[in-house]
Assembly symmetry: C2
Homo-oligomer: 519 residues x 2
Amino acid sequence: MADQATGRRRSGGRAGAAARRGAAVIEQMPFSPPINRDRPVEPLSAEGIAAIHDGAMRILEEIGVVFLNPEALAILREAGCRVEGETVRMGRDFVMEMVAKAPSQFTLTPRNPAHRITVGGDTLLFGNVSSPPSYWDMEIGRKVSGTREKCADLMKLTQYFNCIHFAGGYPVEPVDIHASVRHLDVLFDKLTLCDKVMHAYSLGKERVEDVMEMVRIAGGLTEEEFQATPRMYTNINSTSPLKHDFPMIDGCLRLIRRGQAVVVTPFTLAGAMAPVTMAGAVAQSLAEALCAIALFQYVRPGTPCVIGTFTSNVDMKSGAPAFGTPEYMRATQMTGQMARFYGLPLRSSGVCAANVPDGQAMWETSNSLWAAVQSGTNMVYHAAGWLEGGLIASPEKFIMDCEVLQQIQRYMQPEIWDTGPDEIALDAIRSVGNSGHFFGTQHTQDRYTTAFYQPFLSDWRNFEGWEAAGAIWTPERAHLLYKQILDAFEPPPMDAAIRDELTAFVARRKAEGGAPTDF
Amino acid sequence: MADQATGRRRSGGRAGAAARRGAAVIEQMPFSPPINRDRPVEPLSAEGIAAIHDGAMRILEEIGVVFLNPEALAILREAGCRVEGETVRMGRDFVMEMVAKAPSQFTLTPRNPAHRITVGGDTLLFGNVSSPPSYWDMEIGRKVSGTREKCADLMKLTQYFNCIHFAGGYPVEPVDIHASVRHLDVLFDKLTLCDKVMHAYSLGKERVEDVMEMVRIAGGLTEEEFQATPRMYTNINSTSPLKHDFPMIDGCLRLIRRGQAVVVTPFTLAGAMAPVTMAGAVAQSLAEALCAIALFQYVRPGTPCVIGTFTSNVDMKSGAPAFGTPEYMRATQMTGQMARFYGLPLRSSGVCAANVPDGQAMWETSNSLWAAVQSGTNMVYHAAGWLEGGLIASPEKFIMDCEVLQQIQRYMQPEIWDTGPDEIALDAIRSVGNSGHFFGTQHTQDRYTTAFYQPFLSDWRNFEGWEAAGAIWTPERAHLLYKQILDAFEPPPMDAAIRDELTAFVARRKAEGGAPTDF
């Protein structure tokens, strides 16, 4: 298992670097996606679910959704939908018949099969922040444009942390690479630095096909093997309100025809691109997602699809999006109820509006992460590293978020609430009696190394101990850890022939001009 | 209504100060304790509940609890319990018969009846941090001993914030006042600065009786009126493992005999004063609390009692207590299930191990606050202002916590998930169609001022806007707000005759020597 956290010594490198790399920077929990056995929080009554479903269906039946994609229009016309110009209206019977074909859970198998993940059911998966144009860290101290170097650094964190289960989009947009070849360089970096499940942007056929091809090559797979089971996914957003653009739908169609998975996530900001009422914003979000999922199921019945929610509210003073708000939490829970109603896996996010990794960042992110837990979310996008409403990626925030994610992983372990005789511990209680303490008892000694969550970032010393160690606030501690992790990072193993093939593919596609940039 | 937040102008004071005070420093939600309609998270199965109950009962039947209080021993002997020396063993039939007499909910009525609270049922109440010996703020920048002035400042916050529903113990211990008269000075400050429900420490008969007397005087009540309905409460901790000390039990007996409420909160740190296993720590905590509640119900059937949980884990590396951990969250949820099993209101806490109001402080506190929500907690002690495992009170943390508490209050408002036709908003969606936005629609215009939570501390501007405003991190913003709130603070009205009577009481009791300090 190519696990960075085991601390096993490896050969090669200068002695000093090898020694640094040999010791694990932190002790972390193993790669083991949490199983969420908590009963979801369900604000909607059965009538509420029916009302939102009816709203979503009436949007699709009466108002319709624009598909700026001629192929989709032709397919949906063939399927019996009412197509006028680019507006598609579809009946609820068709929608429900198609959506019923989608699996309630499926697997994604990356090049390292030890990092295979199940999407759906009770499984809770975390992915890195995706697509911020800007980067901020404690050392730079200001907002700067993303670069290939910073993107690679954040990919190393994605690989390093066992609590990150899949790779999202670019953890920061490397704007120092020309857009025509950016996907080639970044996917080369991603695939050589990380062996977890990969993502492709649906931004034109070249990008999608190139990324699929690179994932196939990196996995050492024939086309038949690549298609045999989902290896990767794309995530698309609708253009709210009620519109799907060309490349997003095109990319999904390309992925599903090669057996890969799609996530459909409308970005319905209540009061801006959706109604100011959460039920309306959720109904619109569902309508936008379900019509695309219906299309994909018609094209390839049983294709793995995830329904996403990105319903939040704006700050009505400024119009700026807000995240991790009470309304965001409830919308996520409501969408969770609807996802279960439709039998689809759910994606939500780990998000905040804060600009720096401070207290606000963590209460907003905590709100969104607990909403993910409460809603029965299966995939948490942006679970580590997100700041400024998704406009900034921050390594300190990434590491702070991983501390919270690992705590959620531990929170889900049922041994915490075991109630067998050994856990009730009557004999230990009897032996200590009415004075003394449990530190030295055999019952404690037998269990103390594994009984409790051990943080890697939280400082649990008292004030004096913390002060003596430099009085370092959390983001500074995270920054130091970030540097240590980068310093000790070793990429997962990759066969030299595969690496050569990837290199050659990138070179050939660059020579061909990469992807057009006029989309 | 004596509400600081309404922003009504008042007469008096210098013109400048009056103008500052006249304008509300922040807009906040009204005093309106949240009603928690979320289904609780229940890790324990029915068998798990039975196992923990059986464990607690066997502790009481077989091992027994030490009561270092002769009066309690005599009462329990009379009640038929087996008393050997200071160890009391009681059968489960007796415990359950007594606990069944406790009301599942009751009210507490402070001197301002607009601040009456219901304890139990679905109500979720928040109180200020209690009893830290030390104080920290951004300006001082180091840990200092608590003073009367800082204690009063934090009491002003308790009064100011509508999301704080009751006063806990001293928000910081004013060690500059001699212990013999400390309770007199602090209660005078508390009662004149705050008109919310008051607390008495159970630390000797003089303190308890003095505080009850001062609460009676401040309310303008006869003794008969004071006793007619609960006005205040005490909170006691057992001396884990399995011991109740003299003054705590004595104070409770004094309060219940005058019709007041008690909260019994064992502090069972798993691995230190309780078994390393959470089920064992919870069972021990329940045993310690239930035997005291059984005593109080025997003495005065139907007396209002709350069962508290303070079960957390230690850091097994250092032995230091940790808070807001995964184990803490599950223990709180487990105790919530047990509190419902026993039909008792539940108290938990808003807690963290962090030493400064940074990201760690807020993820740990968020974990504990969401555990309070998930467990069906009724009273959240330490909900604002707690740092360093309760050893430090911080005004910045107080204000940051209030931002989170207000969001929980908003989160509980069921209008967020209304699903009537106006909320599904099909007409608005139809009117906007497949392009444009909802900012200008009538549906939005009619609702935008109240549709979403409005923060008073969170900064939702983008990075550039935040930077232009000084790039102020959350604790610094909280510090500025703290100063503004203190500057504008006006105490709630108090009848001059009552104030004089309180002053005279304090003077008389000081002349008598206050309370002995040899406890």
